[in-house]
Amino acid sequence: MIRFEDVTKQYPSQTRPALESITVEIEKGEFVFLVGASGSGKSTFLRLVLREERAGSGQIHVAGKDLSRLSHWKIPAFRRQIGTVFQDFRLLPNKTVRQNVAFALEVIGKPRSQVDRVVPEVLDLVQLDGKYDRMPDELSGGEQQRVAIARAFVNRPMILIADEPTGNLDPTTSVGIMKLLDRINRTGTTVVMATHDAAIVDQMRKRVIELEGGKLVRDQSRGVYGYAR
């Protein structure tokens, strides 16, 4: 589903590559934690998967596409297969919960009938029933992240990317979010989650890929957070 072959990425302004010689493969349906100190290259890895950034060298294949050959106009269709969740939720403050989720479908031209059918389904899945018409600032952090996850998942992507989704949440709320991501993973969606929340990683016992200074230092199935140090 995601394959990196000797991928190096250096930002123009930096002297050191953000990612260096990364080779890794993530299969369809896997749940993978991407761990490492801040600045180790986790977000860069995810941006490469999304084709928000391009690799300096090496090959990246995502959902059967060679990203170095993906032409500009095909990027939107490619991104429709990937859902994305961030630490800061990134909801639109002037839209209700329902509108925020519907927005993701509307802007890719889905018909109204489909939007009206699918949005409540996914809001039920993330257990936000009864709060459809709230504004984001009337929700708790955990609830806001559920809306963001609903938005990322509403188009039934093959891959869900989460960049520190629990970074702004307290531990109890985080557990709820992890359960939700686990449920989404069980529908067959590949989940890649960057985090430095050791408790969560230790608890979930999923595959762990660790980055350090842009290098892959550990790739362990059913891993824990702090094994390598």
């Binding site: 639109l92 509307e106 802007v107 031209g109």
Partner: protein, 302 residues
Amino acid sequence: MRARLILSEVAIGLRRNLTMTVALVITFAVSLSLFGMALMVRAQVDTMKDYWYDKVQVSIFLCGKSSDSASCAGGAVTQAQRDQIRTDLESLRPLVEQVYYETSAQAYQRFQEQFKDSPIAANASPDALPESFRVKLSDPTQYAVIATAFAGRPGVDSVVDQRQLLDRFFSVLGGLQLGALVIAIVMIFVTALLIANTMRVAAFSRRRETSIMRLVGASDFYIQMPFLLEAAIGAAIGAGIAGLAMVAFKRWVIDGFLAPTFQFTAFIGWETVVGILPVLLLTGVVLAMVTALITLRKYLRV
């Protein structure tokens, strides 16, 4: 394509950047007005050329009592010379289309009428205005034929081609035309810069929406459409205002003041003004869309 959604995005955008939108509309109104003016000046000069070139004549001034050119050494023109000139002119048909003889008294009368309210009229005397043959040519550029045939002949004081006088006049007007065009082009350039800046601000103020659109896989077209429409609507409103200015100018300045005051020339008609309106709209909208598109490619790239 969800028209309703896009339109609501446009409405949000126009409202959110109200001051920018107003600035954009005003700039469009001003620059398109100037552009329209340039087009009107151009059409006006063409109209005058048609009107005047159609009326130009070659004048063959005959010697009077007080003429002092070499060919008038023999004194005032004689009847025989006059008849000979007329016969020679007749033989030059069809190049010579019309021949009209004007006596000194008629010239004086015409002069008095033309300068009714001016002190020049009072000072002129009939003797100062020579008699002449007014010759209308079927091809006004063939002036030289008349000049070689009549200039310097006894009894002929001078041969004057009005077209040459007009050409000098029109070369001044040509400068005016060019000036108007340059101003219009500069204004259009300024407008383009303002559109670019407006789009930059608009893209920035809606970066939250557009970044989410990008993430969920909205196409460039979909992301940029609200911005393009915003620019196009601003341009259309500006063009509308400029159009009203053109119509008002024609109604009150040209028809209400210029035409009655300067009756010696023709002025552009309504069909010219009406013809300019779609040009303004098209220029405005195309300029807005193209500039916006170029700017947005930079700021809203997927």
